[in-house]
Amino acid sequence: MNRVVITGAGTINALGGSVPATLEAMREGRCGIGPLSLRDVERLNVRIGGQVRDFAPEDVFNRQQMALYDRFTQFTLIAAREAILQSGLEFNGDLANKAGVVLGTAGGGVTTWDENYRAVYEEGKNRVHPFVVPKLMNNAAASHVSMEWNLKGPSFTVATACASSNHAMAQAFAMVRSGMSPVMVTGGSESMLCFGGVKAWEGLRVMSKDACRPFSANRNGMVQGEGAGVFVFEEYEHARARGAEIMAEVAGFAMTSDAADIVMPSKQGAARAMAGALADARIDRDEVGYINAHGTGTAANDKTECAAVADVFGHHADDLMISSTKSMHGHLIGGTGAVELLACIMALRDGIVAPTIGYQEPDPECALDVVPNEAREARVEVALSNAFAFGGLNAVLALRKV
């Protein structure tokens, strides 16, 4: 079994258009959530979100590209460029044949669906652009990354709602660990902040109208975000041989299914995923210093997640830190685990633990160290990243300091 390390990272999200900008915002506990700016926002009940602002795609992509790239693909390509350039890898010959890209997204080209339904239903048009299908398909982003970077190995897209990018990264990790490929590009992307996307979420009545306050007794729901996170997962000896900068080691993962309810989370399913990731990584639970929580800010998630952490870690649950960065960038749904992995990297590499902002009142059912409101300096050897999706599909990654 090979060791797997991260040699490149890229992102664009409500906190910033790059990894350094995002980590700086996390260190400062900055909030990227604000009033939504989108068509027909006045018809929405929920009018806040973690939107990517100051972003002009036409400055980045040419006309032909714009015709083919939904917003979720645009985000992916921007994040992938940052990650791959940082890794310093060039994909030629045998490496290109083996290296692939596995990404997560829950909705794919939601904006493209939305705009074209408008055209045919609202405006009564009987013709749509020829590229609607290649633009909206869930694998569009992975395919465009493969084309731009000459990745000819195993490439596909994973859709497991809010756990999509953790499932994708776990899969990419397994491929590098097993020797199937020396390098995999992986992560996830989401862009549902359009009228139809937000309206659909409103229906569930779990959205907050003012802020995302995970673990705080006065929390009142989740807030949607958008963006992408992309990483280069590389076999350790391959990275070392070329003198690559190593950000962290991916040590293990576990995936579980609650087999219980389509929306309500299960403590057992979450606990089995965390315990399974530790077992897979051969990590003792006492070594875990930080957990990047799923922490959506809904009553159902936060209580269940804290109870699961208490079950898995016993007394050590009181010694570790657990924070939800969704309080800052919102819930990126299928892309959320990828952006949140950055907080794990920051904890391991930089010794800075991102806070849970918006924390106002302790909740006895979430009585853990949630790193309230201010980032903290700490030496962290092992970090976990949790993702627990609708449908009861869970994926947890374990990372180790290098």
Binding site: L204, V206, S208, R219, N220, G221, I262, M264, T298
Partner: protein, 86 residues
């Protein structure tokens, strides 16, 4: 049909019961409606009466909309109709 009878019909359908098996004093738990069933029932109520029900599934107890019994829901719906449909 009065508001309470219509609310009972909606809840009974959600609970897969006959309206005659749903009593005004029943709680949602009594008739087997869980949190997801509640959200669906509220949607059906909004559609049936053309009103907006202020309800956040994260904090049902904090909503003005009292869901403790079938009768309290019917009363809250009647008030919303009065307030929202002048």
């Amino acid at each position: 049909m009065d508001v309470q009878a219509r609310v009972i019909a909606i809840l009974a359908e959600q609970a897969v019961l006959e309206p005659s098996d749903v009593n005004a004093t029943d709680s949602l738990e009594d008739i087997g409606i869980d949190s997801l069933g509640l959200v669906e029932s509220i949607f059906a109520i909004e559609e049936a009466f053309d009103i907006e029900v202020p309800f956040n599934a994260n904090a049902p107890q904090d909503s003005d909309f009292d869901i403790s019994t079938v009768a309290s829901i019917a009363k809250a719906v009647a008030k919303l109709i009065k307030d929202q449909k002048p």
